[in-house]
Symmetry: C2
Subunit: 304 residues, 2 copies
Amino acid sequence: MNAPAQPEACFSIAAVERDTGLAKDTLRVWERRYGFPTPARDANGERVYPPDQVDKLRLIRRLLDHGRRPAGVVGASVDELARMLDDCVCPPGAAPATREDGLLQLVRLHRSAELNAALRQALMKQGLQRFVADTVAPLAAAVGEAWVRGEVEVPEEHLFTEQVQNVLRSAIGAHATPGGQPRVLLTTFPEEEHVLGLLMAEAMLVPEGASCVSLGTRTPLADIRSAAVGGGFDVVGLSFSIAYPARQAIDDLLELRAMLPPEVAIWAGGAAVRDKQKRLPGIRVVGGLDDTLAALAEWRAARA
Amino acid sequence: MNAPAQPEACFSIAAVERDTGLAKDTLRVWERRYGFPTPARDANGERVYPPDQVDKLRLIRRLLDHGRRPAGVVGASVDELARMLDDCVCPPGAAPATREDGLLQLVRLHRSAELNAALRQALMKQGLQRFVADTVAPLAAAVGEAWVRGEVEVPEEHLFTEQVQNVLRSAIGAHATPGGQPRVLLTTFPEEEHVLGLLMAEAMLVPEGASCVSLGTRTPLADIRSAAVGGGFDVVGLSFSIAYPARQAIDDLLELRAMLPPEVAIWAGGAAVRDKQKRLPGIRVVGGLDDTLAALAEWRAARA
DNA sequence: GAATCATTTTTGTCCTGGACAAACAAGATT
DNA sequence: AATCTTGTTTGTCCAGGACAAAAATGATTC
């Protein structure tokens, strides 16, 4: 009946930038170089992107985050893109998910209450640290993959993040240990807006008696410095998601290292810095959640 | 000793855009029209902004958020800007803060544990709803004003947000009422990243037996629609901070109204939509936190 | 075969200066 | 007091050129 569905559902270049994370300049230069996207023009000569091209741009964005290069993906058909996404996602994991499958089914809008109950139950059963390492982290990875494959909608991923946040923040609050050592400042760089990595790290550290202060995401470099120095912290912990450009992570970390006094340790964790230890002198690369505990033990041993 | 302090502390135009929220195009056009800012150029001819100009741009940004126009503020001296900020901030409140003064002192990096304890204590004493309306909301406003006046640092404001989040999310989780009516979907538009307004609304609604699902911030319009329809919600609640342009809030809300079936109510709250009820037919403008309860009562009365 | 280095290609970001519509202020009219 | 001009301010968009950082490729050495 409603043939054009949403007749007004067209996107300005600013709207596309918001929705896809691709800069306006990038969108224009792709059009010039690769012949895609091909927006229409309005009466004023300004670009008007149809929804299907925006969807395709979102796919492309995800492929770039997984290491593909524009020449290979901009201009491919939607089918080809979908095939590439399968290639990106399946081979590394081999086992395509097992235990988390059950929970993954609950990442649906209409099942939010069930997901919440299941998460709290798992937390009770496993304790905070195992819950984070064995349930939350694999589930978050599974949701990310499912989103890449289009099996999970944007609002469902949002909802998942919110619910995990609720559970983790409650649990962390219940473990409060004032005066513990070391004093850890947790945050992310301004371009990184994913908060779950931070919360998971905090959840690993707090039960060990460390006293964590989280600034949340997107803290400017200069402010991280002033907070770390002014607050008398022993460790600054940074979290990087898969989408953070590895090169920039390294540059930013080295710049922060130069700004901070040497007695303040820097711990960096997340997909973008994995296996980059040799390029990051003076920084402790945390390879995974359990490695957080190793880093903590090392710090305490060095202080003993 | 260290004469230039941070010799490398200079900003590219992209860094300034991140830190101030002013678009690159805007920064360039201000330079052309008003003669400010006046960045140096690097060897490559690209703009390099000194830190003091970035600080001034941040002041200007805050004044614009308070309704000033660029012609009057871009190009004024820092002293004049500071005076304008006092004018903006003081007159409306008259009483420049009273009860919250004590808590405001705790919004310091080194007093985070005290702030956390004080918040939890106030929550216990007042109950969730009074805590939100009488303590959190005024305190958040006071922190915002103190930030405008430069009395609170960026990391301290971040920390404040984090701590309030921790307390509110714990408390909301403890009130879980599955199956309650109405079913409320809470989120913000993609340009709005402040989360406290959402949490405060949720904290008002949950004790009344409403069942709230929060998607967090920055949900694209189309996804709000699909979530509301697919999840069978009765109400969609949107939150707008003072920084959200009023005009865009109205346009976006009307667009969402047109996308949603009429039986789904829209509630909009926050500084950007206050007093805009007459321009928002079909939308319930929530004037303040206590008005949330009135909106809820209206909805239930209409369904009775 | 793997690691290091030099060269070429790819790719994102920045530049200038012009254009224009939406937002706003102010005055005129009902 | 509300609504409708008219003029000014202001943010965003455009084109198309330029360039450096990143990645791929190939050459050389251990």
